[in-house]
Point group: C2
Chain length 245, copies 2
């Protein structure tokens, strides 16, 4: 049985202070766990969710469905993240959420989260802060996808994913499991698959990063973050994780 409450508390503490009472309130959440197959949608554009998801393991992604049937990936989420927290206040989903690789999510009824807001406003503020950091991540994606050339953009993207994974203690050695396909990378960064492929090879040749078989392996963090123009200030973490070697 996954320790959903602990995973959520741990995550919220990356950016927010929680009192013992706050934590008690969170521990009172009931939830049901769902296992997702690779690429399985669990929220579709237009849905009106009545539960709130917390990622338990694996990676989930948010994306816009385009008129031509293509996708634009918007963000990626890992253990502790609440990828549809917005549905607590915005009825209709304006984007979809799906698993990248296998993943498990816990679903907490909105009613319980709302009750927690009443009992302990500071729990609400922590979740509000979580959604504000999401917004900061979206802003950074605007800049990344609008103003940087392909290989720099890719480097920045992997910096963010790796840094966040590390903050949540999901990095083993210098490697993080991130089973995204080249197609999906293209639909994230706004490039064609062929270009993504060549750019990945460039990063490998620079000896800063390898991406193979759904694993990100960092070879030279300081060179990578320099090249990718990565500054983690926008992630608003209370304590930056120890930088990768």
């Amino acid at each position: 049985m996954p320790r959903v409450h602990e995973i959520l508390v741990r995550k919220l503490r990356e950016h927010s202070r929680l009192s013992a009472e706050d934590i008690a309130e969170i521990r009172a959440f009931s939830y049901s766990v769902r296992t997702l197959l690779p690429n399985e949608d669990f929220i579709r554009q237009g849905d009106v969710p009545e539960v709130c998801a917390v990622v338990v393991s694996g990676v989930v992604a948010r994306y816009h469905l385009r008129r031509n049937g293509g996708r634009q990936y918007l963000s990626f989420h890992m253990a502790g993240d609440m990828p549809d927290a917005q549905a607590l206040f915005l009825d209709r989903m304006d984007h979809a959420v799906s698993a990248i690789g296998q993943a498990t999510v816990a679903a907490i009824p909105h009613s319980e989260v709302e009750r927690a807001f009443e009992q302990r406003p500071s729990v609400g503020f922590a979740i509000w802060r979580e959604t504000l950091i999401d917004a900061a991540i979206f802003r950074e994606a605007i800049t990344n996808n609008s103003a940087r050339s392909i290989t720099v953009r890719m480097a920045h993207f992997f910096c963010e994913i790796f840094y966040r994974a590390r903050a949540t203690n999901l990095v083993v050695g210098d490697t993080f499991e991130f089973p995204i396909s080249l197609r999906q990378l293209g639909e994230t960064l706004g490039f064609a698959i062929a270009s993504i492929n060549r750019s990945l090879q460039e990063l490998r040749n620079m000896r800063v990063l390898e991406f193979r078989n759904g694993q990100i392996q960092i070879k030279n963090w300081s060179k990578l973050k320099e090249f990718g123009e990565f500054d983690p200030a926008y992630l608003h973490l209370r304590k930056p994780p120890i930088a990768a070697k």
Copy 2:
């Protein structure tokens, strides 16, 4: 003296229901008004604001400052918007805010807003919803700037601005005052000035839109929104404004 409380209430009601008590709480806010010159910054990246801005008139923009000194504009805000509401929970600003053309903003002390959250959680929820809609707008900008060609992208951008302006009753006839420069348009959409110029001419030749002297004039709304792939669902408004003719 601008009627700041009314402007804010009106805006929040575009997406949220407010009770008489909620409105009374908002009316209790004290504030100071500041007039901004064109292109004047009022928040810089790294600032730790102690007041919360509400746009009273004109347009303000949020932007990232890039390493090379360039800017990436992230979003534009008009009467009633709270462009730095995030600072209520995130200490350091990860982006700057400046005026586009002349503008006026009201500054409300964080302490007063926080008190309102205590007295009337639903006021907090309305402002939370406001920040969630901001996030939805950022997501749409990711898709716009990553997946659409220059002229479609520009059309979508003007659709959003015009639609939001109309929802807030800022459109006079078929025209909205939006004194942005071509350079800034380029730094918003991720294109060079020369290309922006040519794309603007294309929209004019299509007879869907004119942009001249800082005024957006809509010539053919239904054709424009079709061409720009614009669907306002992501703005999460309770009542869509009457569509432009």
